[in-house]
Symmetry: C2
Subunit: 590 residues, 2 copies
């Protein structure tokens, strides 16, 4: 008899004979009967073992424990009115067991298979295969599947070709730290695992494939945080002959479809676009969460001549003063609360947090006295301040002002419950600088990567003022997370050489590292560009999770360990010898 | 204006204005006009530059060379009757160029972008991005895309979830050689790249996902041949609660769909099933090509008492004698030809190749004299021999007989043109032995992998006669290639322990290597099984190619080198130091 899925049984199946296979979620004994909640991927249904239906089945059920795997045959019957479970799709019915067999036993699991389990994450990672049985986890990975297929379906219909680029590639010094793979055949040489398929997808454009995508595993050997993993998955897209506008429009249609198919939500397109500079000024972030206000307002002009030294000093030395108006919350925050906020902004290098409260049309607070009536009035207007508002100020170097107020803004929004978890605000951040100058290294780095096209109007500044060159690049932001980014790429050899020059590569270094790209650019490389976005992060946001590990089946800890298999591990001397390697302990190194 | 794809333009578009973007396949100057074949992913169309349409465009076209990237605007016009090109989809039309711009130039490519190019493979691999422009290559990767999507679509409809297992995993001593990835955080420890997601997919069954698939990159650091690559792609499938028959039936439906969608061919299901032993006896191969006859016939019984020492000796010492009847080809093969075949079978360890020709109802040839009339008649019947047939014999150890005649059979079929390239013969090979005994190491190895379930009827022989235990395993064979294989897996801890015992693992070794699996088996592991097959090889067969490298975008050479990027390469001392590693030259090792 064909198997019936537990979670799909309804009143319409009454009196049908079914065969179920699944796991015991719970067993209860009650008045000579045994009730078992049987769970499979589709959900749960209650099975009743009644001596009047089958004594033999009841007897077997007596030995059954949580997480046993059972095969049950029985009839779908209605529950008593009183025992209907409205929280369960199958809550109106139960299965009267006619026979049961134990397909496998289970020891008592180290923790309950329940969403609200209080178990430590380490224990759950060690028994990941059990933790994955939880409904929340099952739903997340079904959603991941749905997201992936939705993206693929869209790209297939747009005539993209799914293509596989190599994992055993060449190490390059730019970018993050590579994971290396020693070669057995080539003594002393190494492959690198890809940080992204960037150059290969560009070469596929050189090959004339025109529209490429890949759901690609990428690797970065960096120190880990909650939203980083050593290996992650990227939806990687590249196109030939399309303009920035065309690439953004296509991406918007893709996201619209994913949101509709996966979440049932209609989102509006086109997405707003915001220049990088504006994002920093208004939100103190290059990936602003636009679901709430609390915007930063630059008041440098208004306070540059004020009597408050901290303010006018910051402006005078090339920094700025910005403020956030926490509307109507003056009474909610005590001086002690504000002291705490001050500690928070200090993490970002701010020397302090100034504040004012508005009461009866006037500023209140320790720094109120520094402002003339005119200055106060101009500030009130600029900040749209009214009675009951709390105003928070940071005066510092521009980057410190942005970072500290940007972080404070997010913290306040969470505390004040200003964030609607069901809202999905997509945003393009555009007009990025092409380069970042590193004071310490005394050199420019590529803000995105060294293959990014400079904006057409800035091309002539490449050699003279690289710091002022904007990139033909765009990031896609969702609810304060960088979902992905892309750019048009350089398709002319001369421009690529200029780029390497600004980055301080000698001709030889450029040739050694990227010779194949420079050569490819000479053989009819089409104009091209693309985008890549983090699938793990997208799924995290769609599933309403906050930890990237919840969206990856077998994630690694902050020390890049798999607690289940204990990877990484030691290997044999013979293996190392074949690879022409020797391990050197830290002690020996020192 | 929207771009039109070159290869799609037909008579029905006459008089339309189009914008084309693509590559110059060829330029010809003729009577003051210039003709350019413009190519994009969709195909090719002829563009005409005529001074009467645009002098300016003509002037630009004069400087255009092969592989330049152009944007052309013009009108679709009909070709003269005389110049219609019936070989080209667009052969009835051409584009009268009104304007043209050069999007990028190209140096003269190191080889012609043509399918029949005689260039060495090394040069083509160095300039892979140019070689991929060839139409044959473009078609192969479009077919690869179509195959992948067809498989995914099928599995999605069957409610499989696509799931991603880790790439940074643990090294295990069984199986092929691992690629290792040194850990920076854990001194002296290594990850391994997966040879297959085998254990992870089994753990997903333990997790209750029931139906898993992944188009997974796998890695084996083995010496390479034409049909092996260091990284390859596997369609990886695992299911819970299904029987062998159900898994095979599902796979057959999937293949039927792929063949229909990708090749437009209806194939018959169910596929024939053949026990391993029968495949070896009849075809001398565990992956027989059943598109042609030339089957092996075991004649040991018929010749064991013959006067020919080579034959009766082989049987007496536990070996066998088998023959192939090359029907009607007696006259085609001279003694010299047969001497050559003898050399061929010697490669497989055979001491010689005996032969007979049938003429006027009698055996002819040097060994004819050894057989009595009765023996000859019985052989004639067994081999269905008739006048004009050539009979070829090998007498040796069973494995040598199979290997040598199996190889000879294939060689003969190719030479005699007996293989229909448009026929696709799928076949299941079943009833595999669970173990292989390695004489040299004096131990059993798992014939498939150590997680394969023994056949139900052989379970009690696990400890007493493991050499006679059959596996619940199956291989899928297409036209003489092993496309993939699978099995039911062990889902009981006791059985898994027995398996490790036969393989000579101590309890501690089993625990150290596979402790997480043994533990998982104690927590309600469902009965499960699956299959995996090589995507690269499937695409190779569908595309009618013979080299696996033609189905991989950026393949590696036999020494595992990427000739384009020059991977693997050297890395910096700093990188090695961070990984606590030192390279040791072969000299130092000796």
């Amino acid at each position: 008899m064909e198997r019936t899925k537990c979670g799909t049984i309804r009143r319409e199946h009454l009196e049908q004979e079914v065969t179920l296979k699944g796991w015991v979620q719970k067993r209860r004994d009650l008045g000579g009967l045994i009730f078992i909640d049987l769970r499979d991927r589709s959900g749960m249904v209650q099975v009743v073992f009644n001596p009047e239906t089958s004594k033999e089945a009841l007897q077997i059920a007596e030995d059954v424990r949580t997480e046993y795997v059972l095969e049950v045959k029985g009839q779908v019957v209605a529950r008593d009115e009183a025992t209907v479970n409205a929280n369960l799709g199958t809550g109106e019915v139960e299965i009267a067991a006619e026979s049961v067999s134990v397909l496998n036993k289970s020891k008592t699991p180290p923790f309950m298979i329940e969403d609200q389990s209080e178990t430590s994450e380490d224990l759950r990672l060690k028994y990941r295969y059990l933790d994955l049985r939880r409904q929340e986890m099952q739903e997340t990975f079904k959603m991941r599947h749905a997201t992936t297929q939705s993206i693929r379906q869209f790209l297939n219909e747009e005539e993209f070709l799914e293509m596989e680029t190599p994992m055993l590639t060449k190490s390059t010094p730019e970018g993050a730290r590579d994971y290396l793979v020693p070669s057995r055949v080539h003594e002393g040489e190494f492959y690198a695992l890809p940080q992204s398929p960037q150059l290969f997808k560009q070469l596929l454009m050189v090959s004339g494939f025109e529209k490429y995508y890949q759901i690609a595993r990428c690797f970065r050997d960096e120190d880990l945080r909650a939203d980083r993993q050593p290996e992650f998955t990227q939806v990687d897209i590249e196109t030939s002959f399309l303009s920035t506008d065309e690439i953004l429009e296509m991406t918007e249609r893709m996201m619209k479809r994913v949101m509709k198919e996966v979440k049932g939500i209609d989102i509006e397109t086109p997405f707003p676009r915001m220049p990088y500079h504006e994002a920093m000024e208004r939100f103190g972030s290059d990936k602003p969460d636009t679901r709430y206000g609390l915007e930063l307002v630059n008041i440098s002009e208004d306070v540059k001549d004020s009597g408050f030294k901290v303010f006018n000093g910051a402006v005078a030395s090339g920094g700025q003063v910005s403020a956030i108006n926490v509307e109507g919350q003056a009474d909610r925050f005590s001086r002690k609360d504000i002291d705490k906020m001050t500690e928070d902004v200090k993490v970002y290098g701010a020397k302090g947090l100034a504040w004012l409260k508005v009461k009866e049309g006037e500023f209140n607070g320790p720094i109120a006295k520094f402002f003339s009536e005119e200055e106060a009035s101009s500030l009130m207007t600029k900040l749209a301040a009214k009675d009951g508002d709390l105003l928070l100020f940071v005066a510092d170097k521009t980057s410190v002002v942005h970072d500290s107020l940007g972080a404070l803004r997010q913290k306040l929004a969470r505390e004040l419950n200003m964030i609607d978890p069901n809202q999905f605000n997509f945003l393009w951040v555009t007009d990025w600088p092409l380069f970042e100058y590193d004071e310490e290294d005394g050199r420019f780095y590529a803000a995105h990567h060294p293959f990014t096209m400079p904006a057409a109007e800035d091309m002539d500044k490449m050699q003279t003022e690289p710091e002022n060159v904007l990139a033909e690049a765009y990031d896609i932001v969702l609810n304060g997370y960088e979902l992905g980014g892309g750019s048009l790429r350089i398709h002319q050899k001369e421009m690529q050489n200029q780029m390497f020059e600004v980055l301080g590569f000698s001709k030889e270094e450029a040739q050694e590292q990227f010779g194949f790209l420079l050569e490819a650019l000479e053989y009819g490389t089409p104009p091209h560009g693309g985008i890549a976005f983090g699938l793990d992060r997208l799924v995290m946001l769609l599933a309403g999770r906050t930890n990237l590990r919840d969206t990856i089946l077998f994630p690694k800890t902050a020390s890049a360990t798999d607690l289940m298999t204990n990877a990484p591990g030691s290997v044999s001397e013979a293996q190392l010898e074949e690879l022409h390697l020797k391990t050197v302990s830290k002690k020996e190194q020192d």
